[in-house]
Subunit: 413 residues, 2 copies
């Protein structure tokens, strides 16, 4: 079962648009068992489209095509498809009705080019699109299925989820595939693969483990293949349980949960409130927390204490502490966290102070160093970490380390 | 002058890695006058690589290839290149010396696979890589130039900038091309293109205008072609001056400057200090400001006042104001800004209060509404905006609107 992707659009070739569609479709196709053998990006040109279509015919079972279906004159995919599949455009009344309804609802006037969106190649199967004016189109030729979709990511994903993926799953029912993601934070990939070496070697032959790292977070993806869904699900569950036994502290969540979502989930479960005192992370931790819908239930607020005077005046860090240990120190981090706890009158507080770079480092306190403290009325804990990235990436790592420290503290309560 | 790009890597095909390399190379190639006719992504497989290389030979002048040059067993590009160009691997002493030095500096032991990185196809020209262990390789065959580079973006960009782009510019000296970016914020693309309709129609035939929008920011790119560099530069300069006359308030910077960088630049020039009181933006504005190196020179800090008690207790918003007008109101935004000005003792302050969604909206105050205030000792100004996106995008737009309001205020002082 092999598939190819054809992306049509000058804007992708000249780098104005990054081809995220191909990545998304590749991931979805491989999830249902397809091997993706090629992705080809071509310009909005008749000859290029015809050439790409004829090259791929018979080479693979499925070809997904995106782009060039808009209403403007540079969108020519539909015409090239008609030529390639030897058919002509006809107005599809159902599509026309949907477009008219869409314009009515938005109270917008329709013009000729909108109406033309309802014209589709006569020989194709129309895949209705509730998110835009261009429908998807399904063709078959020379043993290959061709599906043409708009390049707007939202519309492509709608058509894929509603029509293409269910149909492909039906047509290419091979073995059952189950994916399960386990989200980890707290170590690097090489170390994690050492820890899991034995686990991996003992995996049943029908289950594979993949490491998918990004900015400190490592997604462990278990992919199982089998013939009986229930049996396979149980098999995967056993392996997941094993992982929880081997790396209980590193696992923060499952599926696609982010670290900030996991922290939010636990805080809500336990009915705790929190506040943050940020120096080097400059608002990033607050931003991550408040990016989760419903965070107002537990997040009281934060102080970004960039200037030292704010650390003393607002958070109550002692001047002697700053003078004796410096702003980037365990002692300052602890007093910042304790200050935030008082100021916001919450259950837990989190504080960061460090050097994100590129400047400001010294031999004793190099760029990339951070002190983090977590406080509650009972006790204050602190830790320091050292990263060696650019400013932006250091700020990410500082923020994730802090969120993870908070997570480890509250799950034990 | 046409070029193609070949990206090698299973991780791209299955969507684990998004092909940002192809976008970057496409942009750089088109900047120096190349037309990119195709981007092909293929797996780390001998047959796929050989097939892609033979397909492209003679079809275009230049082929840029990335990926598959790492030290592990699935990296096979070098072997496929040897087969295709009918040559063998030899150890390059200069590359070996560079790798040894790299490991010495980092105090790491070298192993056999690191040493193998110094082996290069005998017939290629080696492009030294100061950022990693795999060098770039330059081949020529059948009228086509082939350049193979590592897939690590940092390393690919180094080799492109140091070796490939200068050499291509020398070899394919056609007409001179000058690009100039003008960065704008404050209106949407359709409206901006109306405002600039006359300007665009009066452009000399050798200068083109492109609109490159992303999250509220619209980059205007002027591309000029000519034979005399100085004349062309003057021509572009005239057009840029015209733009400044037509849309003075919308232009916040040039080249690739971000809005937060522009605000930082102006604050530094004018020696002003600022602070922020954030509600709905939840730390995003502070994060954007502190992402700019050196922001500690003007940024005193911020309060993220998510909970209403923080608005009253810390920022001094009156309880009556909250009761009478609500937390999302002009009056609250103004009092938040004035509170931050007092608390942080700075020259200007910025405050936001709004509803990012998905919940919390009412018919009077729908999701996407935001009130922004800018205060100084002299006066406090406020404005409201309404966006209709998801939570994440609304937070972006709220933050950019606020930064832009601050910018417009301080440039007038």
């Amino acid at each position: 079962m092999t598939a190819e992707i054809i992306s049509i659009g000058d804007e992708i070739l000249i780098g104005q648009t990054i081809n995220t569609n191909a990545a998304w479709m590749g991931a979805e196709l491989s999830r249902i068992g397809f091997e993706i053998s090629r992705v080809t990006t071509i310009p909005d040109k008749r000859e290029s489209i015809l050439m790409a279509l004829s090259e791929v015919t018979g080479r693979v079972e499925v070809v997904l095509i995106t782009g060039g279906l808009g209403p403007t004159s540079d969108d020519i995919t539909k015409y090239a498809l008609c030529e390639f599949f030897n058919t002509t455009l006809v107005t599809n009344q159902e599509v026309l009705g949907m477009i008219e309804l869409m314009f009515q609802r938005r109270n917008l006037p329709m013009n000729e080019s909108n109406r033309k969106q309802a014209e589709v190649p006569e020989s194709c199967r129309v895949l209705y699109n509730a998110t835009g004016t261009a429908p998807g189109m399904w063709f078959e030729k020379g043993g290959t299925i061709f599906v043409s979709m708009p390049g707007v990511p939202l519309e492509m994903r709608y058509i894929m989820k509603e029509h293409v993926l269910p149909e492909l799953r039906k047509r290419f029912r091979s073995s059952i595939i189950i994916h399960k993601n386990i989200m980890t934070y707290g170590t690097f990939e090489a170390r994690l693969s050492e820890i899991l070496e034995e686990f991996e070697s003992q995996l049943p032959s029908n289950i594979k483990l993949a490491y998918l790292p990004s900015t400190g977070i490592i997604k462990l993806r278990l992919t199982g293949r089998g013939n009986n869904r229930r049996e396979l699900a149980n098999q995967i569950k056993d392996q997941v349980n094993k992982l929880y036994n081997i790396i209980p502290e590193l696992i923060y969540g499952e599926d696609e949960e982010t670290l900030e979502q996991a922290v939010s989930r636990i805080l809500k479960q336990k009915c705790y409130t929190i506040a943050v005192a940020e120096s080097c992370t400059g608002g990033m931790i607050s931003h991550l927390i408040t990016s989760v819908p419903g965070s107002s239930a537990f997040f009281k607020g934060s102080v970004v204490a960039y200037d030292n005077s704010i650390k003393t005046d607002l958070l109550g860090v002692k001047k002697e502490t700053l003078n004796k240990y410096g702003a980037v120190s365990k002692e300052t981090a602890i007093e910042m966290a304790q200050g935030a706890l008082r100021l916001f009158n919450c259950d837990f507080s989190l504080a960061t102070t460090g050097i994100a770079g590129p400047d400001g480092g010294t031999p004793e306190k190099p760029v990339g160093i951070v002190w983090i403290a977590v406080a509650s009325k009972e006790k204050t804990e602190s830790a320091s970490f050292h990263f060696i990235h650019d400013r932006e990436t250091n700020i990410w790592h500082f923020s994730f380390s802090a969120l993870n420290m908070l997570r480890l503290r509250i799950i034990k309560t």
